[in-house]
């Protein structure tokens, strides 16, 4: 083994050997990954957001595989070749063993370039993909075209959506211990325990909470936004084909956090409109009792503070209920 690939001074070209092993393994690893794993990386491609994020994940993975293999090949090689018992020559020592300018500078340059590329790539993705499905807070910086207009219209009950209209559909997600409910401002602001959204549509999820912090995670759509009391956290996604998805709470919200989940559906545009108009009509009596549609609601009496604070000291409302008037 030590007789192969030696240079004129009899020194084995360790680095050259390692590089060859590394390159071969990395190519094989990356090819295997992209054929067998990449297309199946969760959470799939139900929405444009999910598809984009899957692509980003796969790019990072294609870069991570050579990094992991680089270190593993080096460690394995070292242990095999430079083990105490096998290695007849003395350990490398002296000034040359302590520093090596070429190695150090190239290490720093390579890692820095990789990191800067990753940061630029990630920033580009998050900006062009409208926040990549993450919660952007009350003032989304990277909203899709028409989203802000639809949001403004929704608040005053003037947003419209119909099959083929290409309008952005605002949907409100209300988290409370321990369930999610959904309000549809485009359809009279009715509230439903079911989340149904139309296919081929940009959805603006407006996530808020009535008590503690929850996190709305529509898994297959790849949307995740924290539900904070008193805050409207907006996240965007673009649905593609009809399909089912799971909604889970991904921020610890108390003892029943583990069972705070339900399922949602992407339906064809016609089916969605049918469901929405039917439900709007069926729920009309209930909707009249609900507070007017708003981005946030004052928590109810069993909400965030569990009755700890004296309600009469509350600067905003005298009766702390979901049905109370909004702070002006």
């Amino acid at each position: 083994m030590t007789n192969q690939s030696t240079n004129s001074t009899g020194q084995v070209h360790h680095l050259r050997r390692m590089t060859i092993i590394w390159v071969v393994l990395s190519v094989v690893g990356d090819v295997l990954f992209s054929i067998f794993v990449a297309p199946h990386v969760p959470p799939g491609r139900l929405s444009e957001t999910a598809a984009n994020n899957q692509n980003t994940f796969n790019v990072l993975m294609e870069m991570a595989i050579p990094v992991l293999l680089g270190v593993w090949v080096y460690l394995s090689y070292s242990l095999i070749v430079w083990g105490d018992k096998r290695n007849a020559s003395a350990a490398f020592s002296g000034a040359a063993a302590r520093t090596n300018k070429t190695a150090q500078v190239s290490w720093i340059v390579i890692t820095s370039v990789t990191i800067l590329f990753l940061a630029a790539y990630g920033s580009f993705a998050v900006i062009t993909e409208h926040g990549s499905g993450g919660g952007e807070g009350p003032n989304p910086a990277w909203a899709p075209a028409g989203a802000l207009k639809a949001e403004t219209a929704a608040l005053v009950g003037k947003a419209t959506w119909s099959p083929g209209s290409k309008n952005v559909l605002p949907v409100q997600v209300i988290g409370q211990q321990w369930k999610f409910t959904y309000r549809y401002p485009t359809f009279g602001g009715f509230e439903s325990p079911q989340l149904i959204v139309p296919a081929d549509t940009t959805i603006a999820f407006n996530v808020t909470s009535l008590d503690v912090i929850h996190s709305f995670w529509a898994y297959q759509l790849d949307v995740k936004a924290d539900a904070n009391p008193g805050v409207n956290d907006v996240a965007f996604t673009e649905t593609k084909n009809p399909g089912n998805f799971i909604v889970r709470c991904s921020e610890l919200c108390g003892i029943w956090h583990g069972s705070m989940y339900n399922s949602g559906k992407v339906e064809s545009q016609a089916d969605f409109e049918n469901w929405a108009t039917t439900t709007e009509a069926a729920n009309a009596a209930n909707t009249a009792l609900l507070p007017a549609f708003a981005w946030t609601y004052t928590p109810d009496a069993n909400g965030a503070d569990g009755g700890y604070y004296n309600d009469t000291n509350d600067p905003y409302s005298t009766v702390e209920t979901y049905g109370s008037k909004q702070p002006s």
Binding site: K224, I246, G258
Partner: protein, 652 residues
Amino acid sequence: MTISEERSTEVTGAASGHPHKARGLSWTQRPGIFSQNIITAAVVAILGYVLGHWFGNYLSSGYDYIQNSGQNNIANTLALAFGVVGWLLGIGALNYPFAKLFGVDGLEEESPVDNWTKYFRYSLDHKVVGLQYVVGVLLFLFTGGLLAMAVRAELLNPTTHLFSPDTYIKIVSEHGTIMMMMMTSVIVGPLGNYFVPLMIGARRMAFPRIEALSFWIFTAGFMVIFSALPYGGFPTGWTGYAPLQTQAGPGMVSYLLGFAVIGVGMILAGFNQAVTIINYRAPGMTWSRVPIFVWSILATAALLTLATPVLFAGGLFGLLDKTVQTAFYVTEHGGSSYLWENLFWFFGHPEVYIMALPGFGIAAEILPVFTRRPLFAYKVAAAGMIGVALLSFFVWQHHLFQSGINPDMRPLFMLTTELISIPTGFIFLVGMGTLYRAKIRLEIPMLFVLALFFNFLIGGVTGVFLSDVPVNVTVHGGFFVLSHFHYTIMGGLLFAFMAGLYFWLPKMTGKMMNKKIGKIHFWMMFVFFNLTFFPMFIIGLLGQPRRVFSYATNLQGLNDFSSVSAFLLGLSFLVFFYNLIWSMWIKPEIAPANPWESMGLEWQTASPIPPYNFERIPVIMTDPYRYSEDGAPAFADLGNGGPSDSSTHSMA
């Protein structure tokens, strides 16, 4: 004579014996149980607890947390706070300040009897405190580990539950908090206190009383956080997010106060380490000759001192909310839940590096010994540690990517978070460079160090995934994150701690750890650690959120695999404890003075280590880690027979 030399030689007068021995017995210095020890501490702590509880009820009777619930947070808070003060009073931590305050003599803390009982007392000897910390940390770790076993047992089945949701969330929260608190001190406490003075050629820590105080505060903090369980636990996880925090029962007080108490101990420990390292280095130990482990402790000390006060303030706000109805964290009363998130993570992220840097230090310290060659790129290693420490203050918002704050700040925090992997990557440059053309001795400490590189690589690479906002959307708040930080903290720091224990216990106790059992321990821990946590990356990607008791039924296979591996991982710790008991008490094997043939200063002094470490202050002659170099001078001149310039270093 340099400043550090002058300071180090101050105590030479007492080097041969006990500093207080000469003054005779005072009223506190009776032998046995009559002097102050852990028992008196417990008694006074209980008295303090009762007094605090009474006082709190006296101040605010009828002021229940929830009407007619009989839960009074003021009484609970004061009870625990008085209990902590009682603990410190009982152990003797306040004797010296009181003695100085009232001009009384003979209130010294230390026992005149120099036997095993000193380990149960307030001791000013850094070697005693170091060993106290070892035991304290292992107890802490064991408690947290048992809770982890309970968590994994619950997750064996997605629908059949072992615990009620209430109990389960308490267990999860207690596990996380105990582990996070313990990990802040796991290396700085035991190995930092014990070996930093030895490695820099000092006779003691800069502030021995503060050093002892930090240990006894650490133990008090442990008891405070554990008191959450009898109080009914807390449901918030270790992150303690408000408003869930505001809503939680009295166990939350234990969490907030526990973090505040531990925080004080962390600040004191960090401050003491920093002062010691800066001022107490032996003559000749310039900054480029400081052992790399000491560099890592210095960087950690800076983080402990600067980051922990933020946690302390955050905990204090929370306590005020819970006791006197302020509303720092209550949105509908003018506060903000984001305030806690930001305060917590502004501390929390540097804390993550408090848990990484000492591990890097141990890895880089141990590598040259078992590769028999110099540490590669020493300066890069030191710079990397300082760089990590600095950058760690600018990354905290990556924990809040999906929380709805400042969307346009996300590219910035993505950049800073990814930048930190550059200095973190230096440890791989150093490690891999040091393996190059080495003569690797696969002793147990070396195995743990190699495992650290394996584990931390996975932890670090997945960290880059998490810092990428688009990928973060998928993996935030799920098992992917959970696996990531177990890979960095457990796979990194805990493996380093084990490496450190196997490496240094022979010097600390004079007995070797059994190699055969050690190998079984290592392989079990390494294999089952990976088998436990690697599937969790996949579980997380498949959509399982953290801290849940029920999950999708199709994930049961992976969860069961992880759980069974976790039980075997737990078993590996029993193997470790068995090895510890076997090697220390049942069949002790006397350790040679320098079993690993290390050039480190801590191995050069006599064995067992004399009371003040060195007969005279050593003089550092050259750079560290000059292994296998013909004609290299010895690292230090200890003045015991070798060539010396004894004129300036006389013994008293």
